[in-house]
Symmetry: C2
């Protein structure tokens, strides 16, 4: 299965202006108010997605945000996950691949296939709006798991940008509440 | 209490392009797939909001959409609700007020006060994105009740348009599932 895993604001943004994620970090950390004190491993759905992930496929913009936010991809999932990370990009970096990050400059379907192979029967988790939207349009995405934060951002990176096509109807398969986050799982 | 009551797409739109609401009507009607067969009175949260509503305050654009969609404001809530409806507008219509609709061209706070008085101790329900966002910014809104539809629209009327201000953090007080709709209640 190929799963897009994201934290989203109530008004449909997965990053604020200038890729800011402080609003999401606040929801997931102890910095929030008392009722907001949750951690990744206290969210059964996030925990399940993490532990069933065999590989991660992200976009370049996500990769650069992760470098800033988590001090590198090793910091995603609170540093609790280890495995192959693929980054699909038009601009291959000069430096050699890091030990756990492999840069790819191939068609999307090939990148997904490479991540699937590396996942070895486990799931592929997608990070990055642009990449995930392309997967959705090309029929390469199986599930979307959303942690909905009770925040109105008003601007930023949108979950889904129209390309003039018909609405996409999903099927919700799971709903749960963890602290102030509402956790939603959809089948594409 | 002043409550904004809406159906929203998963990606944060409360109406599609050209104010289209067919995606929402489908979620609320028997036209959908079997698993989507729900009606307003089978949603406890929608039912509670409706039955505790003493007056409705809507914007002009909402009013015109209601005329098209429901054949007039008498058709809202499936025709099950009766009471005073106020429409705040910059352009007062030529025709006299209809028996159940009163047009107002006053400052927002005055319109909310008029609706509160008419509600006589019950709640005021707000319809229309523009009006509701103004209420939110002026501190006139107490609650937001959202029926989240598992649909990606990609374009249309957004729940919340930024005016360059800080994110607004809400508190979720209720979450439930009715058919494919996820029902969320927030305190502002």
């Amino acid at each position: 299965m190929v799963i897009w895993h994201i934290t989203m604001s109530l008004d449909g943004f997965i990053a604020g202006p200038e890729d800011s994620m402080d609003w999401a970090v606040r929801e997931w950390s102890d910095e929030g108010a008392n009722t907001r004190d949750i951690e990744v491993d206290r969210s059964p759905i996030a925990d399940e997605v993490m532990s069933s992930a065999g590989a991660i496929l992200g976009g370049r913009r996500w990769y650069e945000a992760a470098e800033r936010l988590y001090d590198g991809v090793e910091g995603i999932y609170g540093g609790q996950w280890r495995g192959p990370v693929f980054v699909l990009t038009h601009r291959l970096p000069d430096e050699a691949d890091q030990k756990s990050v492999r840069f790819l400059s191939v068609p999307l379907a090939e990148a997904v296939a490479a991540a699937r192979t590396a996942a070895d029967g486990k799931n592929v988790v997608i990070f990055g709006a642009n990449l995930a939207q392309q997967c959705l349009r090309e029929g390469l995405l199986d599930e979307i798991v959303i942690h909905l934060a009770p925040v109105l951002l008003g601007d930023g990176v949108r979950l889904y940008e129209s390309i003039g096509t018909e609405p996409i109807v999903l099927t919700r398969t799971e709903v749960a509440a963890t602290g102030q986050l509402t956790e939603l799982r959809f089948r594409v």
